[in-house]
């Protein structure tokens, strides 16, 4: 059976994952391994008046107790945000200083002030508890809206009034005018709840300084080890780039939280140099809740105007986004270019204006989390569309369809130029899959059983493979967003793919191998995918934003083109045929129209023996390529959710969920379906269960699974997943990307279904049973009053 593009090849990597043989960062154990434990602030906002380390230093097994003054004294640089955003008045964003160990002020619960290095994790933790820190507590603020208020404490001296930037996109006057002249305006206040990412594997780092070579090795749980090395050397001055090897081995889930370079990796590297020991730190789950970058946390007002024919005439949004206590690596780009540029959704909207203010608060830093900005945009648009349809008294599916973009390419008023899509086909497919037309009968049947049944739709569009580099550079990005690959064909004909993408659950070892199977007809077992090691792979930008297919695979394809061209030249020479007549298939190299052929391995061996190569050809069969995309890709689709609610308790049961996605070319449908399943699970988690909650003093109430509700298998339905694809015209494989769609498209479908069931549009995520029950009570009281 073919293992090429489109085949449901079982995941090669699962053998080691499901037998417990994966090799993760915490599995690394060096000789005389030492362990780091961090002394963290119990206060959300406080002055650090002094640190007494003497008791800890005297404790059993302790090698060192290090603080922020020593760190900055050694020239370790502040942690930076790598995407410059300018406010609408032209001033650059106001980035507060962030030292990997706080020196004078702590700004969130969990902010590290010192580190202990000891011979065992227990001794390190016990000594960390013995470090005496003298804090002077300051007022804290946790909500972004409150942080902009007059009475809010000043969190960073650099950002007056806690405002980081005040940014806008689109035409303000034209949009206001269009909405003022609208026949109907739908106005909503919409909150996008703060989430804790919770990858199954917590963050971990093992840093080793080799004094004899002045060389550092860092094993770390990273989605982008090359970016980590670049930032650690160029900005944090931990070590020069050629003296630092970063390895991200098997990584157990990232969801965005493992993109960033956190204080702990910096401190482990530095502590390794200070102590001349290998230093390991592995986060426990409490530290993960406190310090892994959170996601979302937007508060917005949205106004959408419609003309008398229900055509959208304008969309205006005002958003306040909470970035937490410090600006994490890509935090500034999430509520701007990854969010507001998608506010046209699937709709033809002439006038859009969005204003975004980002603010500091005394909470965990906020950055990209699965979907990053696009879920926030989709949730706004799709809740407004559904609500508008209800208020206008028209079918929500029809209102959307009437406003769909139908011609491509389509330039939106918010930068994005959609290249391809067929929105109504996806909508049809999802409606058929759910028997949308038959809903009213199901609602009546449910009512007879005492249940409230509702249906909700979401038509999402997102942007993947953020690019091209020159364009993102002009928008403020500090890095290019291309990808690199190298294809090494061995003398026996087996193949190694070296990629700058990084797999942390996505199945790259399988899908990337399928490209070789497709091109040369080799079994995927003959392919090894190498990634995650800066000594092995020359450079790469890593995996996030659903870029490994559209960008990472495109780089492999470019390298494969070169390998194929050279192999054909060698084959033509060996078979004494014309290069144009050579075809490679089924592991054989043939001369078209003849019975002349050689095995693939014979060509490969020929390349390396170099006994009989064309005149002037270099030996070997190994090619590399860098690929910089011409545009983003635009996955889109329709999700429909149907729920039944128990009015007595407010419990929501998802009774059916259909997803029809347009991902362009699909390499492995099984893996893509898995991505959609996982994405929807996270979206349902956001819609029904998850929220990171702080009390007023800045303590994280949801600091464990006792209070932070992660979705479990029995919270989720069986999904009906299908694909209706248009081909992306801007990359060689026609791929769009599938990693985030589920998390982007599903939350509004779930909430729209619940609000439909209970007859109350005023409901925020997560729609817990308590909130749904209260919304039902409110609707009943309103009805009784009318």
């Amino acid at each position: 059976m073919s293992e090429g593009i489109g085949a449901r090849v079982l995941r090669k990597e699962d053998k080691r994952f499901i037998t417990g043989k994966g090799k993760y960062t915490d599995d690394v154990r060096n000789e005389h391994q030492c362990y780091a434990a961090f002394v963290r602030s119990p206060h959300a906002h406080a002055k650090v008046k002094g640190i007494n380390k003497s008791a800890a230093e005297a404790m059993e097994g302790v090698s060192a107790v290090l603080d922020g003054h020593q760190l900055t004294g050694d020239g370790i640089g502040n942690i930076i945000c790598g995407w410059m955003i300018h406010s609408k008045d032209g001033t650059p964003m106001k980035m507060g200083a962030w030292s990997a160990l706080a020196t004078d002020t702590v700004r969130y619960v969990g902010d590290a002030v010192a580190v202990v290095v000891a011979d065992t994790p227990e001794n390190a933790k016990t000594a960390a508890e013995a470090v005496e820190v003298d804090y002077e507590e300051l007022h804290a603020v946790v909500s972004a809206v409150d942080a902009l208020g007059d009475s809010a404490p000043q969190i960073h001296p650099e950002a007056e009034g806690n405002l980081i930037y005040d940014w806008e996109i689109g035409e303000k006057d034209a949009t206001e005018e269009a909405i003022a002249g609208a026949a109907y305006v739908c106005e909503m206040e919409i909150t996008n709840n703060r989430l804790a990412p919770n990858p199954m594997e917590p963050r971990s780092a093992v840093a080793t300084f080799d004094e004899s070579e002045d060389h550092y090795t860092l094993y770390t749980t990273s989605q982008n080890p090359h970016v980590a090395r670049l930032v650690l050397s160029a900005f944090y001055q931990v070590a020069p780039e050629h003296k630092l090897r970063v390895i991200a081995p098997d990584v157990g889930g990232g969801f965005g939280a493992k993109i960033y370079i956190y204080p702990e990796e910096i401190v482990c590297l530095w502590a390794s140099m200070k102590t001349r020991k290998s230093v390991k730190w592995t986060s426990d789950r409490t530290e993960a809740f406190l310090t892994d970058a959170h996601g979302r946390d937007h508060v917005s007002t949205a106004k959408m105007g419609f003309d008398a024919n229900n055509k959208i005439v304008g969309f205006q949004i005002d958003t306040i986004a909470n970035l937490g206590a410090y600006m994490s690596l890509f935090s500034s780009s999430v509520p701007t270019y990854l969010y507001a540029t998608l506010l046209s959704g699937q709709y033809n909207i002439e006038n859009i204006h969005c204003n975004v203010r980002t603010v500091y608060t005394n909470t965990t830093p906020v950055d990209a989390y699965r979907g990053a900005g696009r879920p926030e945009a989709c949730y706004l648009i799709e809740r407004v569309m559904e609500t508008a349809a209800r208020e206008l008294g028209v079918d929500p599916a029809q209102l959307r369809r009437q406003n769909f973009i139908e011609e491509f390419p389509h330039q939106t008023p918010v930068i994005m130029a959609y290249d391809a899509g067929d929105f109504s086909t996806n909508q049809d497919a999802a409606m058929q899959a759910t028997d949308y037309a038959g809903f009213e009968a199901r609602r009546s049947e449910a009512a007879a059983r005492g249940k409230l049944r509702g249906i909700g739709m979401s038509c999402y569009i997102e942007a993947c493979g953020i690019a091209p580099s020159a364009a993102v550079g002009s928008l403020g990005a500090g890095v290019g967003l291309w990808e690199s690959a190298e294809v090494r064909v061995n003398p026996v004909g087996t193949v190694e793919i070296l990629t700058g993408s990084h797999a942390h659950g996505q199945g790259h070892e399988t899908t990337f191998s399928q490209l070789i199977a497709d091109r040369f007809g080799l079994p995927t077992d003959n392919v090894q995918v190498v990634h995650g090691d800066t000594d092995k792979v020359q450079f790469g930008m890593g995996t996030y934003g659903s870029r490994s297919g559209a960008v990472g695979m495109s780089a492999i394809v470019k390298a494969l083109d070169k390998v194929e061209a050279k192999a054909k030249k060698i084959a033509a020479h060996m078979l004494e045929a014309d290069e144009g007549d050579i075809v490679i298939e089924d592991g054989e190299v043939k001369v078209a129209g003849t019975d002349k052929k050689l095995g693939w391995h014979e060509i490969c061996l020929g390349a390396y023996t170099a006994h009989n190569l064309p005149e002037g050809m270099e030996p070997g069969l190994k090619e590399g390529a860098f690929y910089d995309p011409a545009n983003f890709t635009f996955p889109a689709g329709t999700y429909i959710c149907e729920v039944e609610i128990d009015p007595d308790t407010g419990t929501t049961e998802i009774v059916q969920f259909a997803a029809s996605d347009d991902f362009g070319t699909i390499i492995n449908p099984m893996i893509v379906e898995g991505q959609v399943h996982g994405g929807i699970a996270q979206g349902v988690g956001q819609a029904l269960l998850e929220q990171a909650v702080y009390d007023d003093s800045g303590q994280l109430i949801t600091g464990s699974y006792m209070d932070y509700a992660m979705p479990r298998a029995d919270d989720l339905p069986s999904y009906k997943v299908s694909h209706e694809s248009t081909i992306c015209p801007n990359n060689p494989l026609g791929i769009k990307g599938c990693g985030e769609a589920g998390a982007i498209g599903s939350p509004p479908a779930v909430i729209n279904a619940i609000t439909n069931a209970i007859g109350n549009n005023d409901l925020s995520m997560p729609a817990t049973p308590a909130k749904v029950w209260a919304a039902i009570q409110a609707a009943e009281m309103k009805q009784a009053a009318e």
Binding site: E122, K125, T126, E129, T286, D648, T649, G650, L688, L689, Q691, V693, I701, T702, Y705, M706, D707, Y708, A709, M710, T768, P769, A770, W773, A774
Partner: protein, 266 residues
């Protein structure tokens, strides 16, 4: 976790002797609350004295109408006991919904009752079934045993050896789980006893831990039906209020769970 000495004992005398000898000892009987607390370094007993392997405290006996469950009996054993299910299926059903398979195979009824977590399931059942809590020193009526959140009538060196109760004429437990922890946000155990009494134990919801709802008991005594408690009031001021639900919601849940329990009773 801080280092601790683990000791396995085979009798209550051995247990109390070990406790006396320990600097800061703690009994453990499954440890499904204590061990996570220790892992978070919020508890640091010098010694853990494990009661789960005391043979005299294990097993279930049904003697005529009287049920006795040894304190070291796991939730899984209670859930799967055919003999017990014959006379009191409601408690088997309750046990089958505690935590997850790991918890059910480690946790014990004695550990749960002694800990008296305000969201634990067993205390509601003990209340409703009018159980007696047997210790190495005495027998305590359930109404005297649970004295507030995580508080019981147990003295320092007192160990629960068993719980005993008469099989009810009808009983059932209805639980609404917390979406995050899956502990009870409101769990109501209703029992119609063979002596004519009706008892209603409520866990998870009350601001002072497990309690009996006497008005519902009164109503059910003369009319064991859902309608009988349709008008029952639950004071939201007596309820817990947190990020998962306020007092009004929990008061509602108590009423709904009580009705469902009566409906399901057998």
């Amino acid at each position: 976790m801080y280092n601790t000495n683990y000791q396995r004992v085979s009798s209550t005398d051995e247990a109390t002797a070990a406790m006396d000898a320990a600097e800061d000892g703690k009994y453990v009987s499954g440890g499904q609350t204590l061990i996570p607390t220790m892992k978070q370094r919020l508890a640091a007993p010098s010694d853990l004295i494990d009661l789960r392997h005391i043979d005299a405290m294990k097993g279930i006996t049904v003697d005529g109408n009287q049920v006795t469950i040894g304190a070291a009996t796991s939730h899984a054993e209670v859930a799967n006991s055919a003999e017990l299910c014959e006379v009191c299926p409601s408690i088997c059903n309750l046990a089958s919904h505690i935590g997850d398979p790991h918890v059910r195979n480690m946790g014990t009824i004695g550990g749960s009752v002694a800990n008296n977590d305000p969201a634990a399931d067993y205390p509601a059942a003990m209340m409703a079934l009018n159980a007696q809590i047997m210790t190495n020193k005495r027998t305590i009526d359930t109404d005297d045993f649970f004295t507030g959140m995580f508080e019981t009538a147990l003295e320092e060196d007192e160990i629960i050896t068993a719980v005993t109760f008469p099989a009810p004429a009808k009983a059932a437990y209805a639980k609404f789980p917390n979406p995050a922890s899956r502990y009870a946000m409101a769990g109501v155990f209703v029992a119609k006893l063979k002596n004519g009494m009706a008892r209603v134990g409520v866990t998870g919801a009350g601001s002072d831990g497990v309690f009996r709802h006497e008005a519902m008991e009164e109503a059910l005594k003369s009319d064991w039906s859902v309608d009988a408690i349709a008008g029952a009031q639950v004071d939201e001021g007596d309820m817990l209020s947190d990020i998962h639900g306020d007092g009004a919601y929990r008061a509602n849940l108590v009423k709904v769970m009580a009705k469902r329990a009566v409906e399901a009773s057998q």
